[in-house]
Symmetry: D2
Subunit: 274 residues, 4 copies
């Protein structure tokens, strides 16, 4: 399924401001890229580096004043629904691959240690496996009311549990915390997600957060916010939580004047796109 | 300076318990190893893997019942005092190496975002550079009273700031948090530290935590707990905070029956040691 | 110095042909990128991965029939001449960083073991350091006559030494082999190189190969082909030799119908370029 | 199956000689380690680092004069015969994982490009898959006559093909070259191999070389030298060929006075061993 993804946005900075973007689709994912383009006004030099999780980070210094950036890519995404296997099992810790262990530990926003009692009480008695993770998603989906502006950069999963409010990242943080409290490896993920098979009315497109869980020897996508299987997710990055995996990290105050995110199924051919 | 490092310890586990040890001196550090030996009773198979920071982790499953482990190494450590350069400068974010950026962000225990106001109030007006980091150490050293049992696995730097109590890891967490709040990269470190030039009485030897700060293009050791320059530290691992960098992580309850840590200057030659 | 780099090319393949491109400027180099664009006709999905040296590889399957690819980037390159320090020293092996050791060993094309006698005879008696490496470049520059078509994919440095013919990769291979025979770490590099300060007539622009040598704690560019310091080289990749570091590796026969390489100083601003 | 592996050896060096050892069983392999011990006379400081393939390298400077090293480990190895699946398939290049691609290319000793005609003539007409790889092993096993001293550090697979003589590394190099010429990923491997189920008389134990081939989504061990399935191989390292993967690489001439290699099934318990 061909999808056009990307974002146009404009920020204003009072002074030169170091910044790190995660905006390119991951380079080795379920999708493949056909064409891509990055430009900005004014032109600003950048370089790329991999972070500790292997995500591609694009680093630059935003100029003082107004800065516009446009990134767009044409990708071939997986048009099937998110993979699904209710028979998938939880592994005992001793059988997990080394790389999964870090995703059993608490992190800045995913306070699985503080939420251990709640996790045990609500989900400790359920049979291990896919359906337990789904039960976590069901609970989080119902427990949290979506609302822009209900959370801040310091809102943890514990806060979300207590307030019952949040945006997509908060749904993910709370569900991840419950999983980790039960020794199920869970990691935060975000990217582009087209509105396919979704009934109107449509909200303005935005970056979306979901999470991944390690069951039966692989990582599976779960999405406590939408709590339905979707098509054509285009992952940008994944890691422990939204602190490490952010579309834009700036060192200094900037004002986001405008942002338009693209994640649209398309019939565009490459030359037309270019 | 030749130093014998290691630990003997015995744990009792009610059932088979997955565990990860960080106990070997780091493999590419200021010290070099001459000989090493690892054995246990009962014998338990293990393997090694590098974590996301490159630390060597030794993973195994502790048997049910009593388990004794002995690790000992003979190392050639740096006999000089910790490097010191009061003229070392803070770098603007834009000039930091990519690898240092992750150490400017908050982490589970180092809540630099929550401690931002306190950091700015106390240290924001000081001239950037080595002396500002030293001022942070001085404050933390004076503000926190050392006491075993005053902190728990969920104690954050904010808790330590408010309670004024902690152990060596808590001193490090609070100082790291202040540094990061000021955009100075800081990372947690722990290892073996012999009591050289230290007046008696001696406490029982233990693993020790300190931290490292990025100034003038390199990482420097700071130690808010002791707040003096020491000799022959033998680093085991480093990372964002004590959550990721722990001598022993177990998945399940175990009882530590006995632990003897070695970090002693020695004249042993290798064959005698073996 | 602003430079526009890239390539347009067209290949014809009798059947679907797996291919790996190295065509993007390295992501963490002396230059920084301002804008870039990749498209093809027909559109072909690709993904990126890092090879064992950390180079960015772009992997895809070329379709049967004609395929056109256009890659172009606007970069801010270093406008100074290649760094130069005739006082730079060779390190004893024991002082080399671990990462440099692999570049002291022979490789498929750089038969430093076979060329050891020649290296010792010609350069073994010279004082170690920058000037010895320069003497190697001077010899290779004079010994080899440039000629397209004089070497094949199986031509080794030994062949080049014996025939006295080659293209830029062959100059690099021979010089690298002499360096390694003397225990001086040397690695192959290639990329874009604008014709700045170069008197006409100009050859058609092509990808260029040079090499890097480890002296005085860092890597330095040397260029036995041109044997003059140049400006604004934009490195794409580096590794042991041209086998591992190739603009295009195909698994199957393809015909290169046309290739135009860009490496031009420019006044273009980003929006105009895009 | 419990196996004791390691080596005692003594070298004499006319002067201080930089050296890199690969002697520890790989840290994440089919075996697990229970205990290990390293010491030397005189004591010599070393550090460890991972090479470009992830192998653990132990680096030091051998002293002038006589130097003795003893390394011994007790490991739990896989007591089953080498895995075997004659239905395993070759993957088309487009379906190989990125990491396997480097093992399709020629390397210093494995001249798959030069041996392409022979590979095509002998094996190009066979059905792809396990049995084709086995046919390569059968040919190499019969074609090469084992003999210590028949090959040198510059002997390539082409030389082995032509001379028909070699040691275990040469068998591996030739078989690897044929595989790569057919676009089958193949990599060199070496380690300890006990004489289990092997009829006497026994040769003195030595390090052994074999190779691995990527079929049906995983790597499989093949052994053209012995050409039988074995038990309890304990891999030390793997890479492109014996140049990169050597028990000992020295920078300067040393004399090997004595070497005793251990690879013995044992009933030793850990404490007795220690």
């Amino acid at each position: 399924m061909r999808v056009k993804v990307g974002a146009d946005f404009t920020v204003t900075s009072p002074r030169e401001t170091p910044a790190v973007f995660m905006i390119r689709p991951e380079t080795r994912g379920a999708h493949m890229t056909l064409a891509e383009r990055w430009d900005s006004d004014p032109g600003v030099p950048y370089h790329e580096y991999p972070d500790i999780y292997g995500n591609v980070c694009r680093r630059m210094t935003l100029p003082a004043g107004s800065f516009s950036l446009r990134y767009v890519a044409l990708v071939e995404a997986d048009g099937d629904l998110d993979p699904y296997d209710p028979s998938a099992i939880e592994h005992p810790i001793a059988e997990l691959p080394d790389e999964a262990l870090v995703y059993t530990l608490p992190s800045r926003y995913c306070l699985s240690d503080m939420l251990f009692p709640q996790a045990m009480e609500r989900f400790g008695g359920l049979a291990p496996g896919w359906n337990r993770v789904q039960a976590i998603c069901d609970f989080v989906h119902d427990h949290v009311t979506f609302g822009y502006g209900t959370s801040t950069p310091s809102t943890t999963a514990l806060d979300v549990y207590e307030s019952g409010n949040g945006v997509c990242r908060d749904y993910a943080h709370l569900a991840i915390s419950f999983c980790r409290a039960l020794n199920i490896p869970a990691r935060y993920s975000f990217g582009y997600m087209p509105d396919i098979d979704v009934p109107p009315p449509y909200a303005p497109m935005d970056f979306c957060a979901w999470f991944e869980v390690y069951l039966s020897g692989r990582w599976w996508i779960f999405d406590a916010r939408n709590n339905v299987r979707r098509r054509a997710r285009v992952t940008i990055a994944r890691g422990r939580d939204a602190l490490d995996v952010a579309m834009l990290t700036t060192y200094g105050a900037t004002t986001l004047d405008e942002m338009v995110v693209y994640a649209d199924q398309t019939d565009e051919r490459v030359r037309a796109f270019a």
